[in-house]
């Protein structure tokens, strides 16, 4: 298990170095930064002086090394747009995105797993057919369309829920949360529903397919032949086997949620990192873009590693291999 963990961490470091390289290259592709820092009439000597001061005269790998070292401490420099530290900008926006993604992920699990089980256990019932049809719609409709439909129905027609923003937020330390006020909670509903819809249908279908597969296995037949109760067979014997692959997909999709949050945040003017990123793109604000890229990749890597570990905990067959690999 420890060996497995160490291997995963080393892999993750390499992935992050590759991501940092891409982020680093973004600066180069945006043209010579010195041009935007000196007067147009500056002489070559003056330009070289600036270049030297910024370290831009050194070989690329030295510059990359410095970039990585600073990024590792969370230092991505100043935003080109408003000259504030990039890390501060991201820290301000992070709670909004995190809460949105968390609620959406929670919704997709809390609804997706029971619905998947239900449709697997009653494959021919009317509610299963209806849910299957709805999930097809859920998967094939573009998310911004569902978002706009949600706004139309619940904000414009019914006037129940706000169509933009986070409502009133409360600061808990540096974290601004919408969980503690009614308006904050209400504001979360539509965006998280829009964000979770795809995940929800995916998890429901996955749980259903896995569950039906597991229910056909010999060990379930043998469990029945031993007279175990349906409840135990479905929710203990079958579900445990079902959830193993579901956790993997869920973990991978969690990263996807953060990416999809860009669209949701745009539709609902949600002040999160995704919205910040879109702004940065339109301003050509490379430090912010680079930092967003690195941060989101880091979250991806952390989630994936966690999922792999969880997988090993859940599946005893892997646990032993992991232990063996450790020796």
């Amino acid at each position: 298990m420890l060996g497995f963990l160490i291997r995963r961490i080393i892999q993750s470091v390499f992935v992050m170095l590759a991501v940092a390289l891409i982020a680093f290259m973004m600066f180069r592709f945006m043209g010579d930064p010195v041009n935007s820092m000196v007067a147009e009439t500056a002489t070559t000597e003056e330009r070289d002086a600036v270049r030297e001061r910024l370290g831009l005269d050194q070989p690329l790998y030295v510059q990359y090394g410095r970039f990585v070292a600073r990024a590792a401490t969370g230092d991505f420099g100043l935003s080109w747009r408003n000259a504030r530290p990039v890390s501060t900008l991201l820290a301000e926006r992070f709670p909004a995105t995190a809460e949105l993604v968390l609620v959406a992920a929670g919704l997709s699990l809390v609804l997706g797993i029971p619905l998947g089980i239900l449709t697997a256990l009653r494959p021919h019932s009317f509610s299963t057919q209806a849910l299957q049809l709805m999930s097809l719609v859920g998967i094939s409709l573009p998310t911004f369309v569902t978002g706009i439909l949600l706004i139309l129905v619940f904000s414009v027609w019914l006037g129940w829920l706000p169509s933009f923003g986070r409502g009133t937020v409360v600061d808990v330390g540096w974290w601004s949360t919408g969980f503690l006020t009614l308006s904050g909670l209400k504001a979360l509903i539509l965006p998280s529903v829009m964000l979770c819809l795809f995940q929800l249908t995916l998890i429901m279908r996955l749980v259903r397919a896995e569950m039906m597969e597991v229910l056909r296995t010999d060990y379930i037949k043998f469990a029945k032949a031993r007279g175990l109760t349906n409840r135990s067979i479905h929710f203990h014997h079958a579900l445990k086997n079902t959830l193993i692959p579901v956790i993997t997909i869920f973990g991978l999709q969690l990263g996807g949620l953060i990416a999809f949050a860009i669209i949701t945040e745009t539709v609902f003017q949600w002040p999160g990192m995704g919205a910040l990123f879109i702004q940065a793109v339109s301003f050509g604000d490379v430090p912010v873009m680079a930092a967003y890229l690195v941060l989101v990749s880091l979250i991806f890597v952390i989630i994936n590693t966690t999922v792999d570990l969880l997988y090993a905990v859940l599946d005893p067959r892997l646990r032993v291999e992991g232990a063996r690999a450790a020796h």
Partner: protein, 322 residues
Amino acid sequence: MTLLTVENLTVAFPGRSGTVNAIEDVSLSVSPGEILGMVGESGAGKSMTGAAIIGLIEPPGRIAAGEIRLEGQRIDTLRPDEMRRIRGRRIGAIFQDPLTSLNPVLTVGEQLIETIQTHLKLSKDEARARAIDWLRRVGIPAPEARIDTYPHQYSGGMRQRVVIALALCAEPRLVIADEPTTALDVSVQAQIIALLRKLARETGVAVILVTHDMGVIAETADRVAVMYAGRIVEVGPVAEVLTAPRHPYTRGLMASIPRIGARPDVLPQIEGAMPRPHARPAGCAFAPRCPVRIEICGQTRPDLTGHATRSVACHLSEEVPA
């Protein structure tokens, strides 16, 4: 009193091209402590008979006719929950493949203890002690330690021992063992059969032993039932049936066994193959392959007739030399 009585049992599967009978008019009985061998070609209906007895026929299949009685009680008409209580507690089952019969994510102990506690009013500790005891009885070394390990940490033979413990741990009166050794290494097969025999003797559990191995039948079973195309064609004491088979199919079966361990799937002496359930001929299902058939065989189906211990379903059974 007989332990199990099956009378004129027919299992039907509705299909696109009409209903087919997986098994037809099957009658058999098992006495307490008896080992009834069951043989027949692949698709003859051996597993289906077992599935009907433990009430686990897969829908849309259903019992279309006949009845099943366990210790005098009719069990084929029980409600699902009543039947569930009988499974494991009064009728156990052992399936073919030990590699896939155990739940990979639960320890052997969890599976045993749950089975014991489902049927017997025992505390967790008592059930655990009993589980360890059963592992010891089926020959698992160091059961106190191995009880908390997972199935993949056992070899195939050891897993089948665990399966046997699981089938017997709530002390059923009857266990249906459907080819319990087919999936195992030949070297392990004999051990598992010997274990089954030993446990049957110790506990007095009756066994319906489905196997392709006539050697196993000869050594283990008290009586043997031969199935062909969904029906029992001959049943009787092992010694009699093996040495003096009376149904032409049984005789072919015996002749086709050059050595112990051979599978009676193919009958080199008898041309053709067993008809599928939807394509059975009108008269005797064996007629197309039967070397001694007579006129009537193609028109009328022979009933299983005979006295208490020996029955044959063949128009010629009277004339067939005993």
